[in-house]
Symmetry: C2
Subunit: 211 residues, 2 copies
């Protein structure tokens, strides 16, 4: 962006302010959605939460749908970032400890506030024509990326029959654990499920004769 509009004169601070305002609105939109759902998330509510005037908010996003489709993309972007971050600081390859940490991290993608916001978006999108296509496309992208990351981290060979579906089922389980966490704190039960499923995944992907 800097290359197109050189940073000089009073232009730059204004652009920066504008970008900062936009970001504040997107973050506020996500927080609102996670806490109050679609029905409680109007442009006015989001603007107030962001500490931005309603006029300024509408300068950035003409309608509620504009605001929330931008927020969807912002969430997807952050979730893709979170997916990539899983790769850091893993135990050595070939250990069950590594599989455990990977399963834990993958499940973690579905139990935080980003997933909570995404969940509200999905459910809203299932009823709102304007959101539906956008959310579906973005969700497919996040899902593909999570799958690719899981396959790479687990060093899973998708040429082996069943391996692809093993990893897919693991991510479906992670999604289900996220849902179970929506109404209550499910973390103690979740830890035990993660421990057991890490063992199962490890034995399926790394049978004794491959070790």
């Amino acid at each position: 962006m800097g290359a197109l509009t050189p940073a000089r004169g009073p232009k730059q601070p204004q652009q920066e302010r504008s970008r900062a305002t936009r970001l504040k609105l997107l973050e506020a939109a996500i927080a609102c959605l996670a806490e109050r759902g679609w029905s409680g998330s109007t442009v006015s509510v989001v603007a107030e939460r962001a500490g931005v005037s309603r006029g300024a908010a509408q300068h950035h996003f003409r309608t509620r749908e504009d605001l929330f489709t931008a927020a969807v993309e912002h969430v997807a972007e952050k979730r893709r970032g979170a997916v990539k971050a899983v790769a850091h600081n893993l135990p050595p390859a070939g250990s069950i400890a590594r599989t455990w940490v990977i399963v834990e991290e993958l499940v973690g993608l579905y139990t935080g506030p980003l997933f909570r916001a995404a969940l509200h978006l999905w459910v809203a999108a299932s009823d709102e024509e304007q959101l539906r296509d956008r959310v579906t496309a973005l969700e497919a992208r996040v899902g593909r990326e999570a799958h690719r990351t899981a396959v790479a981290l687990l060093d899973a060979d998708e040429a082996v029959p069943g391996v692809r579906e093993t990893v897919q089922g693991l991510l479906d389980m992670a999604r289900g654990l996220g849902l179970a966490n929506l109404l209550t704190d499910d973390s103690a039960r979740r830890d035990r499920v993660v421990e057991q499923w890490a063992k199962i995944i490890d034995s399926v992907l790394n049978p004794a004769d491959r070790r």
Copy 2:
């Protein structure tokens, strides 16, 4: 109920009509919720859909929260019925075919319209104080029942370490598959995941030395 108010005279038909009206309202509430979400499901909308006057609807349910907590219980009741129905017409014990059908049926509990309505309720409940406790309690009951059914059908021995968590993870996976089906028809992918995970669950619960 019959014991308290004996069924005789003109009373009975009126009671029956009243019960039928109530049921129509509950069914309409669930359909509305599955299709239009919480924000689109007002008492007026539900009454119109049920073909009941707004006055009659309010005679049965004073507020929207009354209507939907009753609908929650009705959904839970139907889902518990669906859980029990899984037990019928299973292949012979000890076969992989049986495990496959059981996993398929358990996953089926989370991919139909009842789950869709429940999902809308959970998400609404996560924002609506009045719904939250009621939905959480009922959801816990449905979850426990699904778990008990799965353990019994799979003939899983929960005294063996890890078995309980294997079954829990399977139900979490089923829930995640239900979520994946919210925005798109996910049935082809789901069938492949179910086939593979039926094999995995079967080998974990029935290791070669137990067969």
